[in-house]
Symmetry: C2
Subunit: 217 residues, 2 copies
Amino acid sequence: MSERRSRTHRKRGYHHGDLAEAMSNVALKLIAEFGPAGFTLAEVARVIGVSAAAPYRHFKDREALIAHIASRGFEKFTAALEQAWNEGKPDPTTAFMNVGRAYLQFAENEPAYYAAMFEARLPTDLQQDVTDASTDAFAVLRRAVETLIADMPKAKRPPAMMVALHVWSLSHGIADLFGRNNPNAHPIPMEPEDLLEAGVLIYLDGLGLPLESSKKG
Amino acid sequence: MSERRSRTHRKRGYHHGDLAEAMSNVALKLIAEFGPAGFTLAEVARVIGVSAAAPYRHFKDREALIAHIASRGFEKFTAALEQAWNEGKPDPTTAFMNVGRAYLQFAENEPAYYAAMFEARLPTDLQQDVTDASTDAFAVLRRAVETLIADMPKAKRPPAMMVALHVWSLSHGIADLFGRNNPNAHPIPMEPEDLLEAGVLIYLDGLGLPLESSKKG
DNA sequence: CTGACATGTAAAGGGTTTTTACATGAACTG
DNA sequence: CAGTTCATGTAAAAACCCTTTACATGTCAG
């Protein structure tokens, strides 16, 4: 990948070398500043310093580029959650909290990806592709929940799907309302990460999950 | 209000009668379909059947109109939550659940207002106005929480602010991800309202709040 | 070396938004 | 009820931009 790029990158004459990649990068910057609806392919071309028609060789239109970015974003997101989960080590509860932190950190560190993933208004077919790409990310969370509640007695064990939806929703809500260092967001008296951690701990307690601290203690 | 409108509405000649109101209504329809970034003042004018320059008599630009709609939306939202809370009757827990339902119902019944309120990307000064307008709505939730936890022993009582933030975030997360009958959202095996209710009940249980059913029952 | 294909350019076509100068008529005043 | 005023709408022009089409370039395979 970078091989081909460096090879063609040497001579920057008529051909750019890796315009598609450059477009993604520029679009990410524009999305971060103006949102998924706040840029055009012509503007991307201008920033890169290429003719206005060039982008159309690589993406059918603006929405195709956004969909591409959103899908790539979900891949990175999935990887980040997976790494945070780390197969449930050192223990499921701690690992689960790490997943929550990773969720918010992704939204903060990659606000443009996050916006493309959750904030874009795409036509049905493209949006479906993006939604499909999100499946893997949700699966990470769901499997983590399954591990987390595996030790509970069957009678008291909640549906993993429901728990995953609750945690996903709370995480997304916090990210959207208070994360992504939005300068105009409502000020809150704690860090988003801590707000999420507290919320999840209370919720897990409400589920009757024996937490590590009180279990092993 | 409707008095003046009906009076001037009779003759529909050169002057429209209440163009500002008509603009809000048309913009809401366009926002519902294409999002806050998906329309222009010229398009609004065209739909209404008025010249392209007319809107500028009433709003400085597109963003001013969105900000106006967002602020009006928060007023309606506040009223809806207040009515659902109904001074904590019949009992705080039930009333609190009603607030949660009202939250999601507002997002479903008024998706355009909701989008303008939470999804718009406005310049700092306008966004600040909208954020200010949201304060009253959050205050309703916060006061409800205060009532809800008032009976808890002081030592076990959580900060009302934190609880309100958790519930707000969960509500918004569910609304954004699964509410607003988005045809491409991830399918989930329950209604958003029920998902929220279950989540809040579990959370309140985790807080150690004595729920009505187990308290009075 | 040569031909074919991917990639980029130039320029034109089509559409749109916003501004400016002017027109209209509703409401007040006497 | 006539005259004046001012908010409100129109028309037209200026500016901007996106997208497409026909053409140019350079890379790579044979």
